[in-house]
């Protein structure tokens, strides 16, 4: 039994990583990965929302009528997103302002809806919670990997700590929108290359 949960967890982080393997949630990933701190907090919020929405949807899976399941999922997800939105506004005001519209937009984040539809509606509460944590951690890790490249190359900092000398000619484009596409594309390509290699090897 324990093995099953562990597999779900590693699936979420590695083999079925939502951003790198399932290519879900790319819109928030592109938008908030300009700094590692943004990626960290965004990831944390997604873990929270995903875990609790998965649990609640799993608990209600036998009561939600099939025909209106999507609106039901959205209502549940929106509830948890509102909770984190208000919590962030109250206790992490600066970060709340930085992430802005992308916090309420977690409601329509495809990862969360995809997990509700494909996992939570078919599995037990505990298993769904583990899936939520795994997928959330995977998303957070992916965001932080992309953000590390962008923040270091574009701003010379990592988690707001200066890592490159002050006069270093940083590439401004990396913290702007094109840098997000370039970095995500290259990281995705690299991961595909590595998985293709390890499969043939």
């Amino acid at each position: 039994m324990k093995n099953k949960y562990l597999k779900t967890l590693t699936d979420g982080v590695v083999t079925e990583n939502p951003l790198f393997r399932l290519v879900l949630g790319t819109c928030p990933a592109l938008a908030v990965s300009s700094a590692v701190a943004n990626g960290f907090w965004m990831g944390l919020m997604v873990i929270f929302v995903l875990t609790f929405s998965n649990m609640l949807i799993s608990a209600l899976r036998n009561f939600i009528p099939d025909k209106i399941r999507i609106p039901c999922y959205i209502v549940i997800i929106a509830t948890f997103v509102t909770i984190v939105d208000l919590l962030m506004a109250a206790y992490m005001h600066e970060m709340h302002k930085t992430l802005g519209i992308f916090i309420p937009l977690i409601v329509v984040n495809c990862i969360i809806l995809a997990r509700a539809e494909s996992f939570a509606s078919k599995n037990s509460i505990l298993h769904s919670a583990v899936d939520g944590i795994g997928m959330g951690l995977g998303f957070m890790a992916a965001l932080m990997i992309v953000a590390t490249f962008r923040e270091v190359l574009g701003n010379g900092t990592f988690f707001n700590i200066r890592v490159l000398p002050a006069g270093f000619p940083v590439a401004k484009v990396m913290v702007e929108a094109p840098g997000a596409f370039i970095t995500l594309g290259l990281v995705l390509g690299l991961i595909n290359l590595i998985t293709a290699r390890s499969k043939t090897a």
């Binding site: 000619p169 401004k172 702007e176 290259l186």
Partner: protein, 316 residues
Amino acid sequence: MEENKLIVLSAPHFKSPLTTKKIMFTVILALIPAAAASVVFFGIKALLHILISVVAAVATEFVVQKLLKKKINITDGSAILTGLLMGMNLPAGAPLWIGAVGSIFAIAVVKEAFGGLGQNFMNPALAARAMLLAAWPSQMVSWVTPIDAIATATPLAIAKAGVPDTATLPLLWDMFIGFVGGSLGETSALALMIGGIYLIYKEIIDYRIPLSFLGTVFVLATIFGVDGINSGLFHLLGGGVMLGAIFMATDYVTSPSTAKGRWIYGIGCGLITILIRFWGGYPEGVSFAILLMNICAPLIENYTLPTKFGKVAKVK
């Protein structure tokens, strides 16, 4: 391999003694006058920029092909050409490392990551130039005057700054010879035209793309130009339109292969160039115009495919 399927236009075909290598080295030869002019005007710094870009491009090609366990074909000249164009697209005042970064990006990301020679969807040197411009905006506009290397603005930037005053604008003759500020390889229209005429004579490039590109720029600039100063000839000689129209827009991989398509492509390049120059945020729009039309090239080609021989017209 699946992705290397041979795609050809409709018959008839004939075998040509031209190889990729021959084409690449002819284009490189045609670029020599412009490269030499840049060294004359901007001194040893120009030579260093060009050499560093070429070496970085070839080295990147070698390393990437080695890492991907592909056949090493750095001797086909395509990487040399990309590096050369990269170097010629830099301002003389830029730091020396910038050409190396550009060449690495051009070869590793734009060319090899998409499958190598013949698979890139954009001109590698131009895409790298656009990346450098976005990444290091201040370094990429460090224009200097020829010979004495004093910081200056390009003719287009001067014209963009407001209704131009005839005294500050460079003479058209200076712009023709190349005695103005600008990217290394773009200032001397004369040297570029020598190379262009040679390429058209050798049938390496099709006259349609440069002609329609330059023609559109000339006509539109004449129509929308201010007081005859910002004229058609000024926009033809200023900035990178000569370099772009002759050497960049004509890249085989990223331009349409149909005759009709090439007219459309060239006109599109000219149109976007003028749109950016007159109403855009940047003083110069050649590189973005070509990049945008590069992306449109497959679409243009698709709509301009010639009718197959023997096909009967649809009866209405």
